[in-house]
Amino acid sequence: MSVPVRSELQRVTLTVNGAAQELEVEPRWLLSDVLRHQLGLTGTHVGCEHGVCGCCTILAGGRPARSCLMFALQAEGLEIQTVEGLASADGTLHPLQEAFRRHHGLQCGFCTPGFLMAALPFYRTAEGMSDQELREALAGQLCRCTGYAGILQAVRTASSIARERGQA
């Protein structure tokens, strides 16, 4: 086999957690790697690099996406949200994060950011979902520790935490 050539760095401009970023990346660099190793946003984890485990799930343009199945260059002009952007600047946890803590929705914590980002777009409607609907909404995210019970409970009740806060 011939020796692969190293490709040139190219510029990509994107928004990550509200901050504009201009980066030089190799075309083949995965968005997951660039978020983690170039921007230091290591909350996005890498578990399989073939799109099945969901540990690397982020929001791209407000929708959940596998950051291991996107090249960083493809994020040109996109708004990316990662787990680091969830809590308030003063450290107050997002209702989803708070719910995960209350209901023991995490153990080792490796899959957790992916679950949080996957649940973020729909958690406000989770209260009204049937058990089966909620499980289906979270299928696509693997957790090896919790057996999902705490996660389901957390996603279901997060909006009630948001309401508690609203009333407080």
């Binding site: 692969p4 083949r28 995965l30 291991c68 696509g140």
Partner: protein, 286 residues
């Protein structure tokens, strides 16, 4: 699991894509949603000198639209957009039904309908649905455009009839007629996995008679539609359907693999086919 190097191209228009493909030919691969392609690249099961990323084509519609009696999907209509589209649910309910089984939200948000159709995985939902609908794609190149009937697009698993300089910029699906009913069923080991067996069914009700057709996925072939002999409306659940489907299933050539034997798949094909056709018939008669 990191991809081998490649040159990245970000064309801004369909014409630029034509141009690039004309230059690069077989060295190049089109990258749309990337949800099937990038895993393969990450595992280095394949590598390409050039990737042509469609995601930044200017002015491409994000939603499907109706033109005449067809639904038109551009190359950047995501599976999620099509699934959430009330228009799609109304005019091509089968597409919505099939999309529900496609992977998971974080995949559908990137994956495109056209991309999945062109990719041509025999275990994927969309090729079977599109085949049953007798949809067509528009292949284009610097040389011009040509329509290809879905059934003539695929030559085998992950193989198609596109020339080296061609790509697909459009999928057209005929909208549902008043007398048509559709259903989609699938069995997979886990929610969102590729199908062990799946079936799409269309039933047309006319003059008290029902004409059913089915297309299978996970059963080896790609793009084959089985038209079943017509039956009287009241006999849709009768032995006629059973024997017609049994014949259709006998034509399938599923292989044995880790998750299922051919014999089991045939069983599933018959069972899923029966209920799927019956549900489609109910809808056709409504």
């Amino acid at each position: 699991m990191k991809p081998a190097p490649f040159a990245y191209h970000r064309p801004g228009s369909r014409e630029e894509v034509d141009q690039l493909l004309a230059q690069l030919g077989s060295e190049a691969k089109i990258l749309a949603g990337g949800q099937s392609l990038i895993p393969i690249l990450n595992m280095r099961l394949a590598s390409f000198g050039h990737l042509i990323d469609l995601n930044h084509l200017a002015g491409e519609p994000a939603e499907p639209a109706v033109a005449g009696d067809e639904l038109v999907l551009g190359p950047l209509v995501r599976q999620a957009a099509a699934l959430e589209s009330a228009l799609v649910a109304e005019v091509i309910p089968l597409l919505s039904q099939a999309l529900r089984h496609v992977a998971h939200p974080a995949i559908r948000s990137r994956g495109t309908v056209v991309g999945s159709v062109v990719h041509g995985d025999p275990a994927a939902e969309l090729p079977a649905a599109v085949a049953l609908l007798a949809g067509s794609v528009r292949a284009r190149s610097r040389r011009g455009t040509r329509p290809i009937l879905a059934a003539e697009l695929w030559t085998g698993a992950l193989e198609n009839t596109l020339a080296e300089d061609e790509w697909v910029d459009e999928l057209r699906l005929p909208v549902r007629k008043a007398d048509e009913g559709f259903a989609f069923e699938e069995f997979a080991r886990r929610s969102g996995d590729y199908a062990i067996c799946g079936v799409a069914a269309r039933v047309r009700a006319a003059d008290g008679e029902l004409k059913a057709a089915v297309a299978y996925l996970g059963m080896g072939g790609l793009g084959h539609v089985h038209a079943l002999p017509p039956v009287a409306a009241e006999e849709i659940d009768g032995p006629g359907l059973h024997s017609a489907l049994t014949e259709a299933v006998a034509e399938l050539d599923p292989g044995d693999d880790l998750h299922a034997s051919a014999r089991y798949r045939r069983w599933l094909a018959l069972e899923l086919g029966l209920s799927c056709v019956s549900r489609a018939a109910e809808r056709a008669l409504k």
